[in-house]
């Protein structure tokens, strides 16, 4: 999954403001709070069949890192 795809979910589906969601932004700086992680997890499971919990997503250091993490889960499923 690309950074652009993750950003689209975070902004269009999770309602986060777009500007702070940059590839290098740490999750907190990007506005990705715990509820956004839950929403992202639910969307990934419902729309892409990727099961990754909010706790697992929260280990990412930045948004781009989170996109790579999701990609690894998508490949391994």
């Amino acid at each position: 999954m690309t950074f652009e795809q993750v950003k689209e979910i975070l902004t269009d589906r999770c309602g986060l403001p777009s500007a702070p969601v940059t590839p290098d932004a740490p999750l907190a700086s990007a506005g990705v709070d715990s509820m956004a992680l839950v929403m992202l997890s639910l969307h990934l499971e419902d729309r892409f069949g990727v099961e990754i919990s909010e706790d697992q997503l929260s280990t990412a250091t930045c948004v781009d890192d989170m996109a790579k993490l999701i990609s690894r889960y998508a490949v391994s499923r």
Partner: protein
């Protein structure tokens, strides 16, 4: 998984038809700015993260029963009736631990000797109470039932708790259900409901019940307030509401694209938006009043129905999908086709 369909319209008697709607809100508006200092939050954060701008607080002398009387009277006026066979009050904040509040409400409404009882099913309470009323009607036990959802959430909310203080508000909504034909407009469709008691601690008031009776003198004041595990609740709310709504629509013979309006318990705007998104119901078909009234628990669904009807967002013939979720955990969903000639009474 305990999504159990309950189908009151499958030939076992009359259907419960919505014929009246009423609502009442305490006049005191409490904007975010009034809460922010004591919970270290901001108006912007509460608006963006919860979707609430203000909520209503009942004055100290006003309790759940008083608000239920106001909403109930308006619902009966909306239906053009002066009597019912039963009154069911959904609430998590009864006036007292004992007795039930409903008989007092019936007394105050001038409904002497009517069957009246409380239902506690968290924020799903109103849909649960409607399901009970539909059962009473289907069995022939009652032909006309007043169902009220009323809450004094300020009785349970710790004003210093950042996790709950911005969310909840007080208010009441009510509906009249009357016996009618199963496929009449306004008839409640099959109900999908369920519970998961393994998560009873996710939203709870630890003290004040029978379980803590031996340590009554040692409970901390905070134990008498509602506690909520936000993320856990959020995840389960979205999953359960989405599944129950899908199931209820299917039981009614609808595809989700048929749904004209989704009436979802107003827990948090992000929950509602996520549920609607997963159901692929466009935002324009999802009325909301959480910005103005907050989360009013069991009063939420009837308040939203009344407000949406009053604002013309619910039109005759609309296919309406109701869904709720809350403490218990408990959830419920059902359907109805919006009836013509129903005018909600808000004053």
């Amino acid at each position: 998984m305990t999504d159990t369909p309950c189908a009151p319209d499958r030939g076992r008697g009359a259907a419960a038809v919505l014929t009246g709607l009423g609502a009442w809100l305490p006049p005191r508006r409490v904007p975010n700015s009034e809460l922010c200092n004591r919970i270290d939050s901001s108006d912007q954060w509460i608006r963006e993260r919860i979707g609430i701008a203000e909520r209503r607080f009942a004055e100290p002398h006003v309790a759940t029963g008083d608000m239920a009387v106001e909403a109930g009277a308006r619902a009966m006026a909306s239906a053009g009736i002066g009597a019912v066979d039963a009154l069911v009050l959904a609430s998590n904040t009864p006036d007292r631990p004992c007795p039930a509040t409903a008989p007092w409400v019936a007394h105050r409404l001038g409904l002497p000797a009517v069957a009246a009882f409380d239902v506690m099913a968290g924020c799903s309470g109103f849909v649960y109470a409607c399901t009970v009323a539909a059962g009473l009607i289907a069995s022939g036990t009652a032909r006309r039932v007043l169902v009220i959802g009323a809450e004094t959430m300020t009785a349970l909310v710790n004003p210093l708790d950042r996790a709950t203080a911005p969310i909840f508000g007080d208010g009441a909504g009510a509906a009249v259900l009357e016996a009618g034909a199963p496929h009449a407009e306004g008839a409640l469709g099959p109900v999908v409901w369920g519970s998961d008691g393994s998560l009873s601690d996710a939203i709870s008031v630890p003290a004040g019940g029978a379980r803590g009776r031996h340590r009554r003198n040692r409970t901390a004041p905070e134990e008498h307030f509602v506690h909520m595990s936000g993320n856990e609740v959020f995840r389960h709310a979205v999953r359960r509401m989405t599944a129950a709504a899908r199931h209820a629509a299917a039981e009614a013979g609808w595809v989700l694209g048929d749904v004209d309006r989704l009436i979802a318990h107003q827990a948090n705007q992000r929950i509602t938006a996520t549920v609607a998104d997963l159901l692929e119901i466009p935002a324009a078909r999802v009325p909301s009043n959480i910005e103005q009234v907050g989360n009013t628990a069991a009063a939420s669904v009837p308040l939203l129905l009344a407000h949406a009807a009053d604002q013309g967002e619910l039109k005759p013939g609309h296919r309406v999908l109701l869904v709720a979720f809350g403490s218990g955990l408990a959830w419920a969903a059902t359907t109805l086709v919006w009836p013509a000639g129903l005018s909600a009474r808000l004053s």
